[in-house]
């Protein structure tokens, strides 16, 4: 619509740049016009959170180097983790037993994920590839492994969007990609970031075709999986965005960044609505996740701690100490009863 204002149909770089500048100003004005309250002021009337009884319950030991990623099984009992040591381990978190330990043909296995069926896991990292392993207790899982997709740089994150048939990946090549697991075909690629993609998450709706990505270009982008288009972008972070997670309502995303803040961006207001930070917190955030209601935001930091934020009052509720090095990954279990954390101290811990 605005294109008509810019006049003749012959675009020049100059006319397009001018229009882009005008649009940017208009966008910011529109957002500010609707910025009528702050989240913390709306939350003032709510009760404060005073009951917190989260304790360390399990320690999973077995990796020989930094734990880089982990994911809960849909059965709420098993965890897959991947490490700098080149191993992927499947844990029984109840008993702390290792059910599978797979050695990858690479170090720095930066990403791993359970498929929705719980019968398949995917992982990859510095090998630039996403490989799937069907899980079976009867035979060596490496016998049936399958390379699904290859990026032109490291694979930083992967996730199955609602079925075992497709996998979505993010990469240091600054793109995201959707792959068909069976054929290995590239179904869609997502171009928009100008630096390494570090993190992706799916909108919670089962029919959803929306996902979010965070990148070293400091941007958070919302994508339409079918069209391949970026539909929204959020600026604000002052450094790499290491983690993004959809709010359980699906209407907002939380982020964690090297700038030592976590933020909440609302999709429908199209803007940042909260910042979770303290002057005393000066270390980067590697991973964030919500409790099942969305009231708590857990975030793992480079100072070895997990901070728990009240997302509404925008204050820190408590700190979880235990790890002896950076907290690299964390995730609330599917039923919301436990929190898993992984660290550069080579262990994973389960809190409940």
């Amino acid at each position: 619509m605005t294109s008509e204002v810019s006049g003749p149909s012959v675009d020049t770089v100059e006319s397009l740049m001018k229009e882009a500048e005008t649009l940017k100003i208009k966008l910011e004005e529109e957002r500010q016009k609707l910025n009528d309250v702050t989240l913390a002021s709306v939350a003032e009337r709510l009760e404060i959170i005073n009951y917190m009884n989260i304790k360390p319950r399990r320690t999973l030991k077995g990796h020989q180097a930094k734990v880089l990623c982990s994911d809960w099984s849909p059965d709420k009992r098993h965890i897959v983790s991947s490490s700098q040591d080149g191993k992927m381990i499947i844990w029984d978190a109840y008993t702390t037993n290792k059910e599978h330990a797979v050695t990858m043909p690479t170090t720095w296995v930066m990403a791993c994920a359970y498929a929705p069926s719980g019968n398949l896991v995917a992982c990859g990292g510095l090998d630039n590839k996403v490989t799937v392993y069907p899980l079976s207790l009867d035979e060596d899982v490496t016998l049936r492994k399958k390379t699904v997709g290859t990026h032109t740089s490291y694979m930083s994150c992967c996730i199955f969007p609602n079925s075992d048939q497709q996998i979505l990946t993010g990469s240091g090549d600054s793109t995201c990609a959707l792959w068909d697991v069976e054929s290995g075909q590239l179904l869609q690629s997502f171009h928009g970031h100008s630096a390494d993609v570090m993190t992706i998450d799916l909108a919670p709706s089962e029919t959803g075709n929306t996902f979010v990505s965070g990148s070293c270009d400091k941007l958070v982008l919302i994508w339409d999986m079918r069209s391949g288009h970026c539909v929204q972008s959020f600026e604000g972070h002052e450094s790499d965005v290491n983690s993004v997670k959809f709010h359980p309502s699906g209407d907002a995303v939380a982020t964690g960044s090297d700038d030592s803040t976590c933020r909440l961006f609302d999709l429908r207001a199209d803007k940042e609505v909260a910042t979770y930070s303290k002057e005393s917190i000066i270390f980067g955030v590697n991973s964030v996740d919500f409790s099942v209601s969305g009231r708590l935001l857990f975030s793992g930091y480079n100072d070895y701690t997990v901070n728990v934020w009240d997302t509404l009052k925008c204050v820190r509720v408590c700190l979880l100490y235990g790890h002896e090095n950076r907290v690299s990954c964390l995730q609330v279990s599917p039923d919301g009863t436990a929190l898993s954390t992984g660290s550069w101290d080579s262990t994973l811990r389960v809190w409940a």
């Binding site: 675009d11 609707l34 939350a43 609302d266 609505v273 919301g336």
Partner: protein, 70 residues
């Protein structure tokens, strides 16, 4: 010449992206935020990490009791 064309294509993509983003409908922050508050209030009672377990026995990761029932 190729450089000029690629610059033009790149700038066109940037501008088209901004046109799409400028065209989306937005709601006031007050409404967006009150919907988030409502969602959380509706789901808080099921949030074990927030409100705890009604009994530690239903916590799958509780410490095993030293005594077992025979």
């Amino acid at each position: 010449m190729d450089m000029v064309i690629s610059n033009l294509q790149q700038q066109r993509a940037v501008t088209e992206q901004l046109r799409r983003e400028a065209a989306i409908r937005r709601m006031p922050v007050s409404q967006a935020v009150s919907d988030i508050v409502k969602y959380i209030s509706d789901h808080m009672q099921d949030d074990c990490l927030l409100v705890g377990f009604s009994s530690q026995r239903i916590n799958p990761f509780r410490e095993k009791s030293p005594c077992t029932v025979l």
